[in-house]
């Protein structure tokens, strides 16, 4: 796969791999064993600082912010980084979506103030889009933004805000005019999560961990300078934010779960019901082969996209199947891994790393099938945007927001 990269990109990849290998012990998977989420986020911030001092932070961003590398190089780096278990995932949102939007739409003064500390991992940014009544149907959000002199006053509630408990700032979409149809009455803001009136309440997930939060806004005052884009451009900017990280984030064909090699290892050391070990079981062997074909298909698609970008062309839309296919399969394979163990599969190891632990991977999989676009939304997107099938029936289309039954 890497052999189809340009010579420059291949040289970059090799250099990055060498550099990453030198830091695995301090920041990679081994360094993260047994850390609490808070400690892990702290490690991620320090790792970000090290990267920023060595030209590996925000690789594709132009000077003066980043080193001016390419999107391909950033994606290559992220993929190698993910393979080695570095904690970069905690900054994927902060640097992948809100900060680039600040860079694209904020005044020079605000860029200068907000962007450099974010790049060094000193500040973390959240993305505040979803609400209790607006998940897949983002434009149904209800948080109000009322104009008050030179300021705006925000009130309402956001939910599923990743890592908000550690974040300093965020970008959020709010409704400035409920008398307009739902997509039109939205405006996009920077918000200070430490400002008076902001309350962050962590949500405990089914794994017992706390990655997400509810964020309440009680008459939070936001200066008009923090508005990004025009009044009414909120939905457009929200979509732009979601499209932002398409190729810059790591592509993990395992769906951020354990590797196939780990599954094979487990099967080989587990007595089989049909055969001496589970690895001798024809059913298990078939699953291994299917997993291999699926994961290698994804690796190939991603590699082709990188090669296309490396050659200065635009990759095809097939990259959009990655999350859907990889995460769904991770759920399947993790379940099967516990099946291999039989009743002893009940015995849960204390591990809490989805990349190494099948119990945890199984338990955490339903979350990933919802976060960042549910399977159903992703299938709809493929059907509508790639195949040209019609949108679902939408009775609220064109109706003023305040007349939509709720």
């Amino acid at each position: 796969m890497s052999r189809s990269l340009s010579a420059v990109d291949e040289a970059f990849r090799q250099k990055a791999v060498d550099w990453l290998d030198g830091h695995v012990a301090d920041f990679g998977l081994p360094a993260r064993e047994g850390l609490s989420l808070e400690q892990d986020v702290e490690l991620a911030r320090r790792w970000q600082k090290v990267k920023s001092e060595n030209g590996y932070a925000v690789i594709s961003w132009p000077a003066p912010w980043g080193p001016g590398g390419t999107v391909t190089q950033q994606a290559l780096f992220a993929t190698e980084e993910s393979k080695r278990g570095f904690p970069a995932g905690h900054l994927v949102i902060s640097l992948g979506m809100p900060t680039p939007m600040v860079l694209r739409y904020a005044s020079d003064e605000l860029k200068e103030r907000f962007v450099p500390p974010a790049i060094r991992g000193e500040t973390l940014w959240a993305q505040l889009f979803s609400e209790p009544a607006a998940g897949s149907d983002l434009a149904g959000l209800r948080m109000r933004a009322k104009r008050q002199g030179d300021d705006w006053v925000l009130s309402g509630q956001k939910v599923w805000t990743t890592l908000a408990q550690f974040c300093d700032y965020g970008v959020c979409v709010a409704r400035h005019d409920p008398s307009l149809p739902k997509h039109k009455g939205l405006t996009y803001f920077i918000v200070d999560l430490k400002a008076p009136g902001v309350t962050v309440r962590p949500i405990r997930q089914l794994t017992g961990e706390v990655h997400f939060n509810e964020v309440f806004f009680d008459d939070v005052v936001v200066p008009d300078a923090y508005r990004l884009g025009g009044v009414g451009d909120g939905f457009k900017l929200a979509i732009e934010t979601l499209m932002m990280e398409r190729y810059t984030a790591a592509a993990d064909e395992t769906g951020f779960g354990p590797t196939l090699a780990r599954f094979i290892e487990l099967a080989a050391e587990t007595p089989g019901v049909r055969g001496e070990t589970a690895l001798d079981d024809g059913g298990v062997r078939a699953e291994i082969a299917r997993t291999y074909a699926l994961q290698q298909g994804l690796v190939a698609i991603h590699g082709r996209a990188l090669a296309e970008m490396s050659a200065g062309r635009t990759p095809g839309p097939e990259g959009s199947i990655h999350k859907l296919a990889s995460v769904r399969h991770r759920q399947h394979l993790s379940t099967l891994a516990l099946d291999l163990l039989g009743p002893d599969g009940l015995r849960q190891a204390p591990g809490v790393n989805p990349k190494t632990d099948f119990h945890y991977s199984w338990l955490d999989a339903p979350t990933l099938r919802i976060a960042g676009g549910t399977d159903e939304v992703l299938l709809n997107t493929i059907a509508e945007k790639i195949l040209g099938l019609p949108q679902d029936h939408r009775p609220d289309k064109g109706v003023p927001f305040d007349e939509i039954p709720s």
């Binding site: 062997r285 298909g297 690796v299 698609i301 050659a311 195949l387 029936h393």
Partner: protein, 367 residues
């Protein structure tokens, strides 16, 4: 490759699409199903006229000396139209084997004829049920004579020459080439659900055979089969894409409950799942083609991944496009069953899925 096609490759692909679309005629294909033992002569004469038969043959023998990439591009187009003759890939097996391991005499006898399409080739590997390559071949080569049986040979009913997998009297695997009009060769057409594949059982009784010069015949056969599987994967992907497009077009046109059925999520998601499978298969197939062209060590593993994901993609798309079409989808005239049949045939012809899954797992667990 295939992402960045050369101008010549683009040309081959677009010319093939144009010609095949112009000549496609489902009624003719449906008639072939009933005729049994026949193939699409229009297609085959086009293939000869367009030079498709010559693509992979060496230039010294009147071929174009092009590579596997061009064969794959063409196979994808043939798959889209459910082509009514398997000869391009069945002959490729013979061209491939002779070009690599054939003696001068065999090359001279066959390559030119195969390149022009005057002769048709086939690969005779299986013996009865089970895996494509028998563990201990019953077909024995002794004193340049072959005796034994080969079964379910694709294009066997029409082929002039076959590459045969057998063993010497000590039981060691060997590859040979046999002219099928020679004395001692008998063929019996096999009745099957995809009649234009020309499937036949072959019996040999002291039939003259020329052995190919190869040290490890089983390994060579496996590699040969992997290359064919890759070409077939592109054919499967072409068919799967076509099924997806048919489903999409029908879902846009057909209305029920006051809207196009393509607006219902159950239908949209079904077609989107086809897309997912087709792209996974394409990803693997392109990776395998690249690996083959670069002669990389991982080629056979990648070919196996391409084959099992292409089997999946085509079977799913051909099955579910019928479901999307509803009642009309199961009629004889609608012709969707041509794809259903072809998907199943291609899933069996070069060895069924379990065999290819096992190839992957044994690679992964012994590496």
């Amino acid at each position: 490759m295939l992402a960045g096609l050369t101008e010549e490759q683009e040309h081959i692909k677009s010319e093939a699409r144009r010609r095949l679309e112009a000549e496609r005629n489902d009624e003719r294909l449906l008639a072939l199903l009933e005729a049994g033992g026949a193939y699409d002569e229009t297609l085959w004469s086009s293939a000869r006229e367009m030079g498709w038969t010559a693509i992979a043959a060496p230039e010294a023998f009147g071929g174009l000396g092009l590579g596997l990439a061009e064969c794959c591009l063409l196979a994808e187009e043939l798959g889209r139209v459910c082509a009514g003759a398997p000869f391009l890939s069945s002959s490729l097996a013979v061209i491939d084997a002779l070009a690599q391991f054939g003696g001068e005499a065999e090359k001279a006898s066959w390559l030119e004829k195969l390149a022009s399409g005057e002769a048709i080739g086939a690969l005779a590997a299986a013996e009865g049920r089970g895996a494509l390559l028998p563990e201990r071949p019953g077909l024995i080569f002794s004193d340049n004579k072959a005796s034994g049986e080969k079964t379910a040979v694709i294009a066997g009913a029409h082929a002039d020459v076959a590459i045969v997998f057998g063993a010497d009297p000590s039981g060691a695997a060997r590859l040979g080439v046999i002219a099928l009009d020679a004395p001692g060769v008998e063929r019996r057409p096999v009745s099957t659900f995809d009649a234009s594949r020309g499937v036949a059982d072959l019996s040999f009784t002291d039939a003259p055979v020329a052995l190919l010069q190869v040290n490890d015949a089983r390994a060579a056969a496996n590699r040969l089969i992997a290359r064919l599987a890759l070409v077939n994967a592109f054919e499967q992907i072409g068919g799967a894409d076509r099924c997806m497009e048919l489903a999409r077009d029908f879902a846009l046109e057909r209305r029920a409950f006051g809207q196009p059925i393509g607006a219902f999520q159950s239908i949209k998601h079904c077609i989107a799942e086809m897309y997912v499978k087709n792209e996974l298969a394409r990803g693997n197939a392109i990776a395998a083609a690249t690996s083959c062209i670069e002669d990389a060590d991982d080629f056979e593993l990648r070919a196996a991944a391409a084959r099992i994901s292409a089997i999946d993609a085509y079977e799913f798309a051909s099955r579910e496009t019928m479901q999307v079409h509803g009642g009309v989808g199961v009629t004889w005239e609608a012709g969707l069953h041509l794809h259903l049949r072809r998907a199943r045939a291609l899933a069996l012809e070069l060895g069924a899925k379990p065999e290819w899954e096992e190839r992957i797992v044994s690679h992964l667990t012994t590496a």
